[in-house]
């Protein structure tokens, strides 16, 4: 089964989404939402660098609207997507789009630099088709996050013992960790754990992790 690209009937019948393109609109909204999840809060400003097909067709496909909608926390099927730029303006989120001419590793690639106060994070996402996406870079680190498996994204203070507390919480609930990526803004500042797990049903685990001291945000993507 592992050599199959598609294993769910809902990869074929679905997703429910705002048009017009599963890769350029739905995929873009998902990237935006995951960037928000990784950042752990709504940014004050975002610089959006678009590459290749994203750079050439982002307006016609609503890629810009979808990326910003995702950043505001909207899903690909949220009818407010069409007004996301206005909503961002009303909420005081500054948005800058920069279409780039350079080649990229994938035809549908976007790099987003999100800022809030002193905090800044750079994240690169690619839309691989049918609304499916990958995160390929985080703060300059190359990562490969498919978001096809259940994933926790946890933002926390960079203190000793944080990783152990989270993994202990998962193991106490008999949740098996598939892969784990850990990075931080700088020593002692905010840090990020990205944990892919085997089970889809995780019960009240998000609340349990949120209750740990010095955890800022917990996002679970199923």
């Amino acid at each position: 089964m592992e050599h199959m690209r598609y294993t769910s009937v809902f990869d074929i019948i679905g997703p429910v989404m705002i048009g017009p393109s599963s890769s350029h609109t739905a995929g873009a909204a998902r990237i935006g939402k995951i960037v928000r999840g990784i950042f752990g809060q709504q940014p004050d400003s975002v610089d959006i660098y678009l590459y290749e097909s994203f750079a050439k067709t982002y307006r016609g496909h609503g890629t810009d609207i979808a990326l910003v909608g995702g950043l505001l926390g909207m899903e690909p099927d949220d009818e407010r997507l069409a007004n996301s730029l206005e909503i961002a303006y009303e909420q005081g989120m500054e948005v800058l789009f920069v279409p780039k001419n350079e080649k990229a590793e994938h035809p549908n690639l976007v790099k987003m630099v999100v800022t809030k106060g002193e905090r800044q994070l750079s994240i690169t996402g690619i839309s691989i088709g049918g609304g499916n996406i990958q995160i390929s870079e985080l703060n300059g680190f190359k990562i490969s996050l498919s978001m096809g498996t259940p994933t926790f994204i946890i933002v926390h203070q960079d203190l000793p013992g944080m990783i152990a507390q989270v993994t202990n919480t998962l193991s106490a609930s008999e949740i098996n960790i598939g892969t784990m990526t850990v990075t931080r803004e700088s020593k002692g500042e905010k840090a990020i754990m990205i944990i892919e797990v085997d089970q889809a049903e995780v019960g009240d685990i998000v609340k349990k992790i949120t209750d740990i001291l010095h955890i800022f945000s917990v996002n679970y993507f199923n």
Binding site: V9, I12, V16, M17, P20, H61, K100
Partner: protein, 296 residues
Amino acid sequence: MFYSIEELVAQAANYPSIGELMIATESENYGHTRARIIETMEKNLTIMKQSVEEGIAGVRSVTGLTGEDATRLNAYLQEGTFLSGTTILSAVRNAIAVNEVNAKMGLICATPTAGSAGVLAGVLMAAIDRLQLSHEQQLEFLFTAGAFGLVLANNASISGAEGGCQAEVGSASAMASAALVAAAGGTPDQAAQAIAITLKNMMGLICDPVAGLVEVPCVKRNALGASQAFISADMALAGIRSVIPPDEVVLAMYQVGRQMPQIFKETAEGGLAVTPTAQRLSKELLGQHSADSPTE
């Protein structure tokens, strides 16, 4: 899990239907309950119906390039002077409706993609009237289409950027024809024959969107893809068989997709996208927005 059409047909023999095989496989792969799987599909079905209704009521795309053809065809249907048939023409109208909603950034269900979303929803809504399908049968139709779609996605492609329009509208039309056969009481093997018959006619279809937008020729290709699904299904139900076995047809489509030049794979660099009119439209539509020229 089934990888080929042959495996799909063989495994379906152990279940009441192809749809039930798909539900059991989904449950096995993801550990979700049957109730949860049905619930998700019901949400998809609801959106499909809504998008057909919304499109028939009349919408125009964000660019103004497409729209209101579903309304136009609906009026023509009601006049009753048409040449083909009510069922076919309803499917065509429905397919146009969904793709017009898609082009105006409305809510649709991608089947298998957004650009080809009109075919399956369009065919299903016409089949509901023709075959008097119950709610359960409508869901079954979608699970059957999904099962065949998975085989196409895993063995060929469902992405225009990878395999041209044959991968999108071709796959959608094939899935719809197989689901129609099953809904009309045909055997799994007859459904497989419908897949082969449809794909043979879609093979080589390029993806050449004007201005790179999911509008021209996508809306009309969905319309014709929907009409073809009914014809293929009728041929298969009549007992006509494909000389080339379904799995070999799928493999051929995959090869054609790989061999297809890049200019015909969603880059807007070939076919209709480079006609004088398309070039002019592209300049008008994207030019007016355009502080957009890429920098650096």
